[in-house]
């Protein structure tokens, strides 16, 4: 009996915890997706990659335009 209560009682907390975190992450995901500061940070990263040669100019341009579209989209 104790076991059943235990089984019933226990999962609620961690599950709720995980759900809550997942919720947070999802909620923030959209904000982050369009967050200008984050997009700027990503642009900086692309720039760094261009400098080190990690990404080719073409690849950089492609990603940059994608990021720019996100920025413009936000401003709608």
């Amino acid at each position: 009996m104790g076991l059943v209560t235990g089984l019933l009682g226990l999962p609620l907390l961690p599950v709720r915890g995980v759900m809550w975190l997942a919720e947070q992450v999802l909620e923030q995901a959209e904000e982050q997706y369009y967050d200008p500061a984050r997009i700027r940070a990503q642009l900086e990263q692309v720039d760094e990659a261009r400098r080190t040669g990690e990404l080719s100019e073409e690849e950089c341009a492609e990603i940059e335009n994608e990021l720019l579209q996100r920025l413009m989209h936000r401003r709608g």
Binding site: G17, A37, R38, R40, A41, A61, Q69
Partner: protein
């Protein structure tokens, strides 16, 4: 002056005094690549044609916009438009310049002989994390705890640890950032503080600096950079057109 055409979309980069001379080598974002001026009274708009086969927003468009403005800024006062600014050709005079000539002239006067610099600074990650750890027992203890546990078991503790560190960084930068700005303010006529994007950002401030104080200002920044070496990495953008010092409206 070209004849007024119906539906001739015109890109506006910014506003200058009507007696300005455009510098050579300006390249617009339109198919012709040409940049010209449309004047009315004492003010003028710096304009070009617009690409018609695609929407604006490619990297090249943005870069062209800034390049034109920064070039104009080296010659004299310019009021930058926000990107993108497209109007019909006749509207440049009728709706932009005519109703606002006085205001634009006043804005231009207030910007004459002044350039913008934007200072950004970031913490050197390891150095500042060491400082935070050394200065905070709770954080040190939590770190110890986390190191003992497996990745799964330590999940919530790691989130908490990160949270505490971020708080500590935010507290630090509030003072350090303000300090940096305070030391540079005397060299500028105006400052604008921008939103900081990441926890390790320390400062992001635009300074409007008189031409004849520019060198002093740069030296002062360099001096602060030297003091902060190893802890904060400073970056100075400029001189550029006064983007931050123009009211939206």
């Amino acid at each position: 002056m070209s004849p007024v055409e119906a539906e001739s979309p015109t890109y506006v980069y910014g506003l200058v005094k009507a007696d300005s001379v455009l510098p050579d080598g300006l390249t617009g974002l339109g198919p012709s690549g040409r940049v010209s001026m449309i004047a009315h009274g004492r003010v003028a708009a710096v304009v070009s044609d617009v690409p018609l086969d695609r929407p604006l927003g490619l990297r090249g468009d943005l870069v062209a916009h800034e390049t034109v403005l920064d070039s104009l800024a080296t010659e004299g006062a310019v009021v930058p438009m926000r990107f993108p600014a497209v109007v019909e050709e006749h509207a440049v005079v009728d709706e932009l310049l005519v109703p606002n000539e006085d205001h634009f002239e006043a804005l231009l006067d207030s910007l004459e002989g002044r350039a913008q610099f934007t200072l950004t600074g970031r913490y050197e990650q390891d150095a500042v994390l060491r400082e935070v750890l050394e200065g905070d027992e709770e954080i040190r203890a939590l770190r110890e705890k986390v190191r003992e546990l497996s990745e799964d078991a330590s999940y919530y503790d790691r989130v908490r640890l990160g949270e505490l560190i971020v708080r500590a960084l935010e507290q630090r930068r509030e003072t350090e950032g303000a300090d940096i700005v305070e030391r540079l303010e005397p060299f500028a006529v105006a400052t604008v503080s921008n939103q900081l994007g990441a926890p390790e950002d320390v400062v992001n401030v635009a300074f409007l600096v008189e031409r004849d104080r520019q060198e002093e200002f740069e030296n002062a920044v360099e001096g602060i950079g030297e003091e902060l070496v190893g802890r904060v990495r400073l970056r100075l953008l400029g001189p550029v057109a006064p983007y931050d010092f123009v009211p939206e409206a």
